[in-house]
Amino acid sequence: MPSFTHLRVASAFSAHYGTGRPEALVAAANAMGMRAASITDRDGLYGAVRHIRACLAVGMAPIVGTTLRLSEKDGSPAGKITILAHGHTQGRGWACLARSITSAHSFASRRSGAIVALRRDRIARLLRGPDGISVTVLLGPDSDVGINLARGNNAAASQALQWWMSTLPGAIRIEVVCHFTEPGQPASMRHAVSLLELAHAHDVPAVLSNAVRYLVPDDALTGDVLDAAGELRPLGSFDGQPNGQAWLKPAGAMHQIAVAIVRRSSLEQAAAHRLLAETERVAATCTLDPENDIGWQQAKIPENDVIGLTGDPNRVLRETAEAAISERYPYADAALLRRVRERMHDELTTIYGFGFSSYFLTVADVSALIRRMGIRNQARGSGAGSVINYLLRISNVDPLEHDLLFERFLGNKRETLPDIDIDVESARRHEIYRAIFDRYGSTRVSLMAMQNTYRARGAARDAGLALGLADDQIDFVAKNIWRFNARDFRSALEVKPELREFAHLVEREIKLEQLVDITERLDRLPRHVSMHPCGVILGNNELYNLSPMQPSGMGLPMSQYDKDDIDDVGLLKLDVLGVRMQSTLAYTVQEIQRVHGPQAADAGKLPADAPYVKPNGFVELDSIPHDDEPTFELIRTAHTLGMFQIESPGQRELIGKMQPDEYNDLIADISLFRPGPMKGNMVAPFLDAKHGFVPPDYLHQRFRYFLQDSYGVVIYHEHVLRILHECMGVTLAEADELRRSMEKKTDSIEAAFRGRTAANIDPATGKRKFSDRDIENIWAVLRGFGSFGFCKAHGAAFALPTYQSAWLKAHYPAEFLAGILTHDPGMYPRRLLLAEARRMGVPILPVDVMISDDNYRVERTTNGTLGIRLSIRDIHGMSEAECRRLLAERPYSGLVDLYERAKPSRTLFQRLALVGALDELAAHESEALNSVRGVPTRGDVVMRVRQLTASKRPVHDPENQLDFSIDHSHLIPRGNAEFSTAERVAAEMSILNLDVSAHLLERYRPLLDELGVTPANELLNQWNRTEVLVAGVRIATQTPPMRSGKRVVFISLDDGTGCSDSTFFEEAQNATGPLLFGTRLLVIRGRTRRTGERGISIEAERAWDLQELWRQYRARHSPDIAEPVSVEA
């Protein structure tokens, strides 16, 4: 079989160019019997790590390079080159590659329009190292040499080649490509011949490539569409690819091409052999040794002195942990202290074994850095299972309290660095990034990349653009695509009721049919690279030799590696995730302290001596007790709006059923509310045992001690570990390995489980610990558990902010609502949060330019209750600068004063008036006259503002030197009507997107009364299976995965009294059709379905558009009823 190596292969990670995933390309090359596989993505190493991983998996030789554009010093384009790193060079070749890419990106600028390009004057410096040149540069048909040749400019081509030869002696190869394009064009046969002849004339070795950009000929069409997406123009309006030859051709075909080129040339036949042999020689030189060249899977973390570490890291880690015991376990008795020490010792032994001590100290250093900045932070994930993490304050979850296992976090066999994720206040995330860069030095830190891939909507949009469809047609399609995979577009058309209309169009219109097919083709291809929302990479001083960098949106350098690459290149990834709930918690605590000061404990109905409330009113949230009854009482009402993770309709239902009364229940609730446990039906047995309908079944009395936290239901990975440990006598670490491979190797694990468990003899009695029947029962549970379970450490870490938010809502409702209104952490629109405040009896105070802040503030109303003052931030169309001025220039003496000094735009000034933000100021301004003329109405204020904005803007003239004679034009007029509630709500909706004065639905009251609609808060009083009508504003639509696999749509409506949750099964979906997803105000008919003590939902039969019903109602009753607030979805 002939051998051939494709040296130049662009994968799908060459965005808007390649179509093949690295794994697929490697697999295909392997199937064709090739020895080596190369990846040369455009502008970067985005796919390189995946490529190497795929090569290692099948035993192919990995080659990595990149294709870069070149520019002259003045920025003019100078063709492209492909740089391949040499292997077995201790990483010198790789470093040249990485640094060249970083350099090429450093000149790109969105503002100046400069593209990513390597500047010619940098090449010698970047590619010529002190130990010689460790890269090979391919000059192909698209290089400056090739371009000159194609233009027939042979002299310039020779000159260009000579420059390369003298700049990088020995490293230059001519890359001959024949795509059989039109004779004379780039990559034509003639062009290939002239490149080969030129190489021969200059005695430069040549290689053959196919400049691959897709896997098989069929993908060429996808390539066309990507070209259009890259050009942002429809196909046919630009020069696309000349034909479809750039696929991964088999070795035989490449050999034939070599022979054909040489036959057409003036060279002797042996030149074909030389061409192919040289290609293989370059492949051999460039074959990487991942361990030697990039330290494959070897940890590279900041040097000890950078984190201020002197001496043996193991000793430092042990001493630090030891010293923290008294702080973390202040009230521990001797027994607990012994457990802590034992656990600490076990964990340290494992950590030492891996040499991970400095890693833990690094992460601890980062969280200490965040704490010093006064920013809330909390570790998430399996790291919560480590007492070392707890002692080092990386995590705030005590693993001993919740019976969490270290082995689930770090076992015996783990080679790569464990993941530790830190949740921080979202509002201050960038501050943290900068601090990390400052502390560790920019040569060791970078942000992480994220590959965004095509999803249905984006794919449909780009497909529509490529086909030249009209914008409204594209919009129509994109809007109707709802949560399905683009690759299932065709089958979705057949089954989804909301696509019915579109499906009919597709049958008639070939372009739409093509659109459907192309959308399927684009699905999941990388689309563009962006900054990962939370990943920070820490490395050692060699980071820039290992990873190419490019500018990120926030100005800090970003590595081209994404989350799947980090482990294999041995870098440390910190997930510093901005979580709005953390900002909400911090804000709420601030408001409590600001409003109540030393009276904070009393205000929260807490004991006066509560140790977690500081004398100055600061509430130490991480120290609040976890058994607070008022908190659980509130949770049990299922009024969980605003509580972290338990506010969704599905969670409200589960909470209503579960009626949690302890912290463990919250962990269980969060762990159960996932597709796996839902499908695995773990919920029902849990609830039955919790409510005492059935006694808990612990499977075996030996399991009782660890299954008590879940009433005997096997929910957690930790349970499985302990079961395997008890039964088989394996260590917990070994148990975790078994658990991980349970799905793939079920049969062999079953055999081992049965054998070892049966052979497990109790030394005290000399009898088997587990009978055959026990083994049957236990195995049935383990097998059913499959991959469903959840890591309890995750659950315990997740439950902490859930509990903290619930606690704040129970004790400080106004402050907490101000917090969620300010930081908007949840899934619902703000207007629903206002509805919740109204429901809880917390007064909503209108926007007032004299008082409102740019956050939602707690304010004591005249009767002493705590209300929430709306923020001016939500005023539609206000710029940052306008907001700043409006606040900074306060106080104002009157409307003119404000208009002059705060300089709002005319529109903004009018909006302030319409929404009532100027009411108080106007009353204040005309105070002296109010007794005579009356307090100005909203209508008067609006009229005055219209007068002011209609004339020329007044000049600021504090001394009144211009000597305006005071006339009535300077006064607020009177006699304009006061705004009705409807007008107020209309203004609030359009300007704040909030209904402040009354709930949106109130406008439709006569209709709702006529229909006999049931308010949400009265649903619980209905018998099961009662037919009801509910109405409201759509606040959530969900299509969660179901046990049956059929699609079910959940729609939640808010009607001001609370939320109703309706379930649409197939028939109801069909009856409702396109209204299912698009309409905002709905009336739903269905039957009540009781789900528990506090749980009720509606099984929908049909839904109607409330506004449509209202139109009919008006036509029937009185055409005079005013048009209500129009609401767009």
Binding site: P217, N243, E520
Partner: protein, 108 residues
């Protein structure tokens, strides 16, 4: 210049053109035909583009030939011709032609 007219072509056993007639004149190929591949604008056609169905949707084989009119043919001129076989059509197409006469007409 672009012609895009249907023509009849006589091919060798290997499938390469030997002779063709265009506008009533028969031309004889006088060079070794140079094969190349142009492409279709599939988005202008009622083609199915579903995954796996587009193998033949892009490439169109073309032969570039030097040809001269048969002596008896009269008004034809020597020239360079691109003869293409589009999948969507039954026979051959003369895609491009470059002759002195055509050039003259261009600049007339």
């Amino acid at each position: 210049m672009q012609i895009n007219e249907d023509i009849s072509v006589e091919v060798s056993a290997a499938g390469t053109p030997i002779r063709f007639s265009w506008r009533g004149i028969t031309y004889t190929v006088v060079s070794a035909p140079e094969p190349w591949l142009t492409r279709r604008a599939w988005w202008t056609e009622p083609a199915s583009v579903s995954r796996g169905s587009a193998d033949a949707l892009l490439d169109v084989p073309v032969w570039r030939v030097d040809a001269t009119p048969l002596p008896a043919a009269g008004a034809g001129m020597d020239g360079v011709f691109d003869l293409a076989r589009f999948h969507t059509r039954v026979g051959w197409q003369l895609m491009n032609a470059w002759t002195d006469v055509l050039d003259d007409r261009l600049f007339a």
